[in-house]
């Protein structure tokens, strides 16, 4: 019997994180971390199916789920061999429904849903190959890597031939890099200390704990009141000492001029990067900010919805740090496109993570980047947040401030069935018990529940 996608399962999975203000920032006061979860069913054991997801923060997750289902239906009936043999063609096939494309193109709910399906297909292909996704990617030839990417809108910044040449150059030293990253892990930074909803005492304590645990860098949420930002930056800087990296993140709350002012006002605390200073669509605004706040680096990407946006951020010199998101982009293929572009422009990729399972995914992308694309970890750190890993079959493994390289076949995306049952919205027991409406706003909230 042919190994084939015979069915699709989707789950609207939501965690009531708003109850604790984990994940609070100046734009997102009370998120309920959620996933639009997809299983590409092949008729065997659940562990052998393709698992993938995209990440949202609560209300509206059903749109991402519905989008994922619409896109996934385009995969039903296809053979796994056909998919795994041409993952570039498969991703283009998913994106090629012109009626669905109108809802983007390549942005919003339909693109989030596409990411879930593409990620599930990579999970499936990697399992069949008996490799983790990073290794599946790293073992591809330069030609095969280039064939993963839809070049239509990218060639003015990087031609497939130039990408090929770059990848061929990077083949030197690949084996040593793979051995080294397996030995040492990949560097990370922590956002767990700096959520905006935490009070000063908790912030100071968490920063000290981070230092004690070996972290070299800490990120703070800023962007609301300037005096609060100054006080919190001072607390954090005092707690981590003068040499560690302090990053700040305004979560898109500022205009261009305000972002420049904010960066200047906080510069004395030694800021490594300033993340999401303004609208994630504003390439030219980021470029203007970058020019005026150097040497502080501008970082963005968790809401950069496709490779065309990253292309422009790089072309305009608008970012010093590329924070691609494994689920905002249309899955592994588009992430590979961004890795190639960033390497070509010499900009380090420090993926956005946290949320639900983003750490589990992006570790694969960064390890692949190190082994086969950029060939470097210099200036590169993967975000780490210590939330929700217990729900995964193959959770990230940290050794101090470093990700240990994932070894299990697949994309580390599979969530435990007990979690899917418990947190399924709106009928899982976590939501059904009526505790969802208490206090700071559950995902089932009505108007303004999360303001």
């Amino acid at each position: 019997m042919t190994d084939r996608i015979i069915d699709v399962e989707t789950v609207d999975l939501r965690f009531p994180t708003s109850r604790e203000l984990d994940g609070s920032d100046a734009m997102n006061e009370a998120p309920d971390y959620s996933a639009a979860y997809v299983v590409l069913r092949t008729g065997g054991a659940d562990a052998d199916d393709g698992h993938g997801f995209t990440f949202t923060i609560g209300r509206g997750n059903e749109l991402a789920v519905a989008a994922a289902r619409l896109v996934a239906e385009r995969a039903v009936g296809m053979s796994v061999e056909e998919i795994a043999g041409d993952l570039g063609g498969f991703a283009r096939h998913l994106l090629a429904d012109s009626q669905l494309r109108w809802l983007g193109p390549d942005q919003g709910a339909i693109h989030l849903g596409t990411a879930a399906v593409v990620n599930a297909a990579w999970d499936l292909a990697a399992k069949r190959a008996g490799k983790p996704v990073w290794k599946l990617l790293a073992d591809l030839s330069p030609e095969q890597i280039v064939a993963l990417v839809d070049w239509r809108y990218l060639k003015d910044a990087l031609t497939p031939d130039a990408a090929l040449e770059m990848l061929r150059d990077r083949r030197a030293g690949r084996a040593e890099r793979e051995a080294r990253v397996r030995e040492d892990g990949y560097p990370a930074y922590t956002t767990s200390a700096g959520w905006l909803g935490y009070d000063d005492a908790k912030l100071a304590r968490l920063c000290r704990e981070a230092v004690d645990a070996g972290w070299d860098s800490v990120k703070l949420k800023v962007g609301a009141d300037l005096d609060d930002d100054r006080r919190r930056c001072r607390i954090a800087r005092e707690a981590i000492g003068p040499d560690r990296w302090l990053m700040i993140d305004a979560n898109q709350t500022l205009g261009v001029a305000e972002a420049v002012e904010r960066a200047h006002a906080l510069a004395e605390f030694g800021i490594w990067w300033f993340e999401e200073p303004t609208s994630p669509d504003d390439v030219l605004g980021h470029a203007a900010i970058a020019e005026r706040i150097a040497p502080i680096r501008v970082a963005t990407g968790e809401h950069a919805h496709n490779a065309v946006m990253f292309k422009q951020f790089l072309q305009a010199g608008a970012i010093g740090v590329c924070q691609l998101d494994a689920c905002r982009l249309g899955g592994v293929n588009e992430a590979v496109a961004v890795l190639l572009l960033a390497a070509a422009y010499g900009v380090p990729v420090c993926p956005h993570a946290g949320g639900v399972g983003l750490c589990e995914l992006v570790q694969h992308l960064s390890v692949f980047d190190y082994v086969a694309v950029s060939g470097s970890t210099e200036g590169r750190v993967v975000e780490y947040v210590d939330h929700l890993h217990e729900h995964f079959h193959d959770p990230v493994r940290m050794r101090g401030p470093r990700y240990l390289v994932p070894e299990a076949p697949g994309y580390s995306a599979r969530i435990r069935r007990s979690t899917l049952d418990a947190y399924r919205y709106p009928d899982g027991p976590v939501w059904r018990e009526g505790t969802a409406g208490d206090g700071a706003g559950g995902a089932n909230g009505g108007r303004g529940a999360a303001r």
Copy 2:
């Protein structure tokens, strides 16, 4: 009893236009023109409620409907006086749910849904004022117009003060312009002749008929095969003579270099503008194309999802024609922001229309632009497509190649109940009768049905 939003009705409305290949282009081979339709119910007659919609092309319209419902629920319980008294604050309130914002921000299905609700609120406010939307807008003071806009991300291109000054300058001559446009109508161009799915004979016939009917400009779909494009341009140019405008539209199918080549290859046919040459997100790409194909103007906007994108197209000198869309943008408020930006940069606005009811909406925006913002119709034409107007209570009225100014109170958005019943997807008789799957792909199609 207070006049209040007591309930929301949403309708998934789809027309099986793919059966005739109306609306076919190089990206969208077989669209089923659709609307996510919203009624803000106030408890009175249907005619007195707020009607609005957004436009999609078929599959996935349910996502826009679900998004519109999520957003509209934020309006339930609000008084009409509260909404109509601060339509700027109302639009910001709809956009301010941080969990829903994650699905964009300000893009994709959630933004399309927001547009439907904002448009419905304007329909309602205009009905209560007893005015068409264009007149409600034109009668606002400069201060009130400026207060409609969310300036957070726009101030680096245009400050509220500069917008105020511009609007005050335009007060001179306003009464004469209003009288003139009521007398003469507003200029239009036709896309009805040039759909890609039409054969040469039909193209030639439709172009000649357009000329006979008084049209001064005709738009052709291009972007697939170059020889086809050259042949079709030649047919069209011969049919319309040397002096009328010929516009071409590639519907995003080309890369930057290919777009430049295509424009050069077709330049001999006298091209007024080249529309959607490449990815709608590619500000820098459009700027590069614009520089290299002048004096042919670059036009884009039907997929420019928010004011931040238009801001950049204008800042970069990337467009010579601004084709805002009344439903892709987040409704009237964001369209006003784009009108102000375009006027400040001296770029004519020629709105995207066609689809379902886009002509009905954008005529209000262009008449307002002429009366109160740009003060000019020079180089400005509103797209016109002769589809689906019969389904509206207050359809556009054309006099030759000009839109007559709408006079009925509201936003001309109300669709006939008989249409809502007949074309409701999937349970309306048009879809239920099983004719949907015949031939070129109905909205209920499975994988690849519309390729």
